[in-house]
Amino acid sequence: MTRFSPPAHIDDVASEAVLQGWSDKLLSWFRDVERDLPPSPRYFNLLDRPLPAGPAHTIPWNGFPRKFALLIPDDVDRRWERAEGVVTRDLFGRQAGFFVRVGGGFENAALPFRDQDEYCEWRTVRRDGVIERIVFSCENPEYWEFLADNEPDVLLRRYQELVSPQVQMQDLLFQADVFRAGPNGTAENLRGRYNPLNRWNTVDGIVHLTHPANSLQAEIRLAGEATVVRHDGSGNPLTDDVSLICCARYGDANRSSDPTIGGRVNALVRSNAAVTLDDPVGLYIRNIDLSGVETPGGNASSWWQPIRESAVATRPMILRAQFAPPAGSGFSMSDVQVGGESLRFGSQLAELLTMVIYGRGVDESTPAPSDTCSGKCCRVPQAPELLSIVNLSATCPPVEPDPEAAIAATGAVVAVAEGVPRIIEENALPKPTRY
C-alpha cells in the first residue's frame, strides 16, 4: 500500500495529486498521535508499516446517542425528539470550536450542530410538517474541509446533489471573521474558508458530521491512546471499558462508541497485538435492522437507500444513506410503521443503526507501553446516570439529581465539573481534535 484511500473508497476526486494530499493528511494525523504516545507504541499506520491484506477486526456500536438512552430511558417520544435537535450547546454544555473576537480575547461563535455524538448523525426532512425522508451521515468533516480546500467545484456539486440545487458557494464559506485554534497557539481566521457548520449542513440540510466530538482525527487519536495499557494505583492493569476511558481520558464514557472502541483496542494490545485502523480509514454505517419496519408493499429494504458507500460488498462501508419511499412507488412515509407505531422521528430508525470501524492487529513481542491514570470519572450532578471525565486531582461535585432540568432545557443543560470560561485567551483556544 502506498497511500491511504478516501473514506469508503469514495470517488469524488480523480486527481492523483489531490488523492495523495488526503493520504498525506491522514498520515500526519497518525504520526501526530504516535508521537504523543509513550516509547515503543503499539499503534502504527499502514503506510509506515504495511501489512498484507487480511481480515479486519470489526468494532460495532449503536448509532443512537447512548447519553439520551441513559437520560430518558422510558419516555421514547421525548427521547426521540430531544436527540434530533440542532443546538449551539450539547447536553454537556459543549460548543463547536469556532470563535469570534471579543475585546482582547475570543468568545465562542455559538454555531449550530446536531447533538448526536456517536459518529452518526441524521436529519428528518419534513415538508409542511410531513416527513419526506430521513437522511443519515457518518462522513467526517475533515474530508469535506479537504474537498473545499482542494476541489471546491466538487464540494459545491456534491452539496447541490445531496441537499439542494439552491446551494451557493458563498453559503459554504465563512463570510465574517471566525477563528479556531491554529498552529503554535495562534488563532486562525477562517473568513473565506469552508464553514463545516453552514446552514446546508445544519439547520437546512445534512452532508457530514457536525457534533464537535464527531471527527476522524478524534477517532484516530482515541484508537491510538487506547493502545497504552493503564494501571490503577496498585499497579494492576485496568481491563474494564469504563475504568479505561476514565483513566486515559480518550473519549466520552457516556457513549456506546468511545468506551467500546477503546476497550476493544486495549484488549488487543493486552493480548500482545499492535493495532491500527484499516484502510480506508473512516467511520461507517454497517447496517440497519429493518425487521420491525413495516412498509406498504412489504419490502422495507427498498426504502433503505445507501447513497454514498463502498462497492466492496464483503465489508459494509456506508457513508450516507436515506430512508425514503422507493422512487415512483407513490407511497408516503406516513404509511410506515416502526415497531408497531407510525414513523414520526428519524430517531426511531437511528436506534436501529449499527456503526463500525475496522481495525487491524499484528502480533508484537515487545512489552506494551503502560501508564498510570491522568483522569477519573465523576457523576454529572443533575443526572448521575451520566459521567464526566475530569483531572485526577479534581474533586467530584456532589450529586443532586434533577432529571427534569437535565432533559427539559435546551442547550447547556447539564453542568460539568470543569467549566470553560466565556472569554478565552488566544493561546487557550481548544484544539479541534478533541473527542
Partner: protein, 518 residues
Amino acid sequence: MEPVLAADEIQAGIAPGFRLPFQKLVALRAELESAQGVLRVLQPRITLMREAAEYHRRRIASAKEARTFGMESFALVRGPHVRWVNIALGARVLDAAGIQAPAVADRSFALGLAARSTSLGDPQDPGEPGHRNTWKVGGPENTADVLLVLGSDDRDVLLQFADEVERECLQLGATIIHSDVGARLRGDKEHFGFRDGISQPAMRGRLTPAPDDFLVPRKFAQDDTGPAAELAAPGDVLVWPGEFIFGYPRQDPHDFRAPLAEGAVDESLRNGSFLVFRRLAQDVAAFRAATSSFVGALHRASGFEDVSQPWVEAQLVGRWPSGAPLVRNPTADPGEPPGTLDRFNHFAFSQATPAVTLPSGEPISEAPSDGQGERCPRHAHIRKVNPRDLGTNQGPASQTQRLRILRRGIPYGPPFDEDIPDSAERGLLFVSFQRSIRNQFELLTRDWMNSETNPESPDGHDMIVGHPGSGDKFCIFRNGADEVRVTTSERWIIPTGGGYFFCPSMITVGRFTEAMRT
C-alpha cells in the same frame, strides 16, 4: 446495603420464581368487570415472594442433605403439594381500570406483543409460519387481558387446581383463549437436548432487615475483596432489583457493583414487573436436520474434517448438552459435573476467571479468557444473550447487566425421542420478568440475538433462537485460520403466541379490583 424487598407484596413468579416442575399458563380474554371478578377470587391465593422463598429454602436444604438436585428435589419437601398462582394483566384491561402508569412506563407494553412482533424477528409475511395472525394467543384478534400462571410440584394436583380456577374464570365471564401445561424435562433440558437455566442474574435484596437474609443465597464468603461483591454464585452476577421490580435501586450503567437511585415511581408500578410471554414451538427434527447439513458443509472444508454433530450444536449453543460451557470445555462434553453446576457457570469471556473454593469446600478451577471467540464462538447463543464481561455495541460491560432478564420459562409438549422422531408439538413457554420490555427483553432479542454483527462482531446470528426477520441467517465456524460460513432459511423455533403483561403488587391488585370503568 441491599434493600429490603416487599416480600409480601411482590408476586413469587418474579422472584424467586416458581421453579416448580409443573406449571400451567392460562390466557384469558376478559372485560374489566370479569377481570376484576377473577382477581377478587384469586387475590387471597396469590403466591408471594416470601412464601416461595421459604419453600425453596426448605427444598434446597433437603436437597443438600440428600444430595438430590434439580426437579427430583421437589419430592423431598414435606407437607401437602403446593398450588401456586400468579396473575398478570394486559394493557387493555389496565387502561379500562384507569391504571395508566405501566403503559406510560413502557411504550412496547402499551403497543403489545402483536404490534412489536416483527421487531423481534417474527415474519412480516402473513403466509409464513410464526406470523402473529396465526398465533394461538396474543395475535391481533386474540390478545389476552389476563395471564394466570399456575404451578405445583405434582402434575395431577396442578391439573385439578387449574380445572377449579378455569371454571371460576368462566363463571365470572372470562373467556379462555388458550392454555398450556408445561413440565420441566429430565435433567432440566430444553427440547433440543441442552441443559437450560444454568445462568441467571442474581437479584440483590433482602427478605428481612437482617444483614445477610438475602433473597438469593450467596455462595461466596461475604467480604469486600472477593467475588462476593459482584457475584452470588460463580457466574451469577448480582444485579440491583430495580432492573426487574419497580421501586428499588437500579443497576448503574457504568459500574457493575454500584446502584443507581430509582426516580419517582407511580404507586401502581411499585413492586410490580413487566412479564413477557412467548409461546415458542421447537421443531427438533428440523434443528437436527439443519445441524447435520452444517456438518456436511464443514466436512467439505479444510480444517473441519473431524467435526461431529454434537460439536456443531455445542458451537451454536456455547455449551454442551450437560451444560458444560465451551470456554471451560472446548473439545468434548465432560458430562455431569462431580460437584454442583456452579463450575458450569464459572467463566467470563474478556478476562480469565481465577480458581475459587466455595464455602462448601468445592474447588472450581480457573477458566481461561476467550475475548476473540476461539473457544466459545461469538455467535453462540449464551454469548449473544449474555456477553458477561465484554464491552458491546451497547457500550461498556457494565451496560450489559442492564439488559439482563429473569427467565421463568418451562418446556411444554412431550420430550423428543431421537429414535422415533414424531411431529408432536413441543417447545418452550418462555416467560421473563424485567423492568422494561423495550430496554431489556426487546433490545436483547432485536439488537443481539437477531443481529449478525452485534453485540461483538459480524460472526453471525444466534442460530438457536435469533432470526433476522426476513432472509437467511448465518454463522461462521472457525478453527484456527480456517473458517466456514453456514447459512439457512429454516426456522426451528416458531413463535405461536404470547403477550406483554404487567405483574402487579398486591396493592395494585387491590386497586384494580376496586377500580371503576374509565
